[in-house]
Symmetry: C2
Subunit: 105 residues, 2 copies
């Protein structure tokens, strides 16, 4: 991952509503959630939600699919892994980052 792409992903996550949306979609798994359901759970007005989803989508962190009348959003785990890889490679140097990967707390 390139720095510019990483910055776009970091910017997307560096906002209260969007981090909440993304975490919710991660919990929801590959099935995802309808936009309206996200708005309901997080109590975000539809226009604001749409704005934030567009940001996340632009960053490649979420995907959407039409399903009947609903637009279903889901987390893009691959992109999140790319971001984590970038941060681990570029922002931890030779230090023992993630020293105990199976038991992070």
């Amino acid at each position: 991952m390139e720095s510019k792409v990483a910055i776009i992903a970091l910017s997307a996550l560096a906002q209260e509503s969007r981090l909440a949306i993304f975490r919710l979609l991660v919990q929801a798994g590959i099935e995802g959630l309808a936009a309206g359901r996200i708005a309901e759970i997080l109590a975000v007005p539809p226009s604001s939600l749409s704005f934030h989803l567009k940001e996340l989508s632009h960053a490649g962190l979420v995907s959407s699919r039409q399903e009947s009348r609903f637009v279903i959003y889901s987390a893009n785990f691959a992109r999140m892994n790319q971001l984590l890889a970038y941060l681990t490679e570029n922002c931890c140097g030779g230090q023992p980052c993630h020293s105990s990967p199976s038991a992070h707390l």
Copy 2:
């Protein structure tokens, strides 16, 4: 790490100059670099640099120490690890993030 703290750290890194500064300090290791040297290497005006260093410092991602006439900044690896742990726990769900932790690329 709490969400609010994570957002502050993410915001700090989600900016071109600051990400460059942080990466440079990671490369520099625990010895760190003088503010002036950072400004020189990255060609950032001193006042801008100071502004960005304050942001990184506020996010806990860098520390500073006075050394003679210089202020030496260094990356805070512990905080970066906390951020990575937060992202791994909260933004990867049950998915196999970092499936090969000893060989991330």
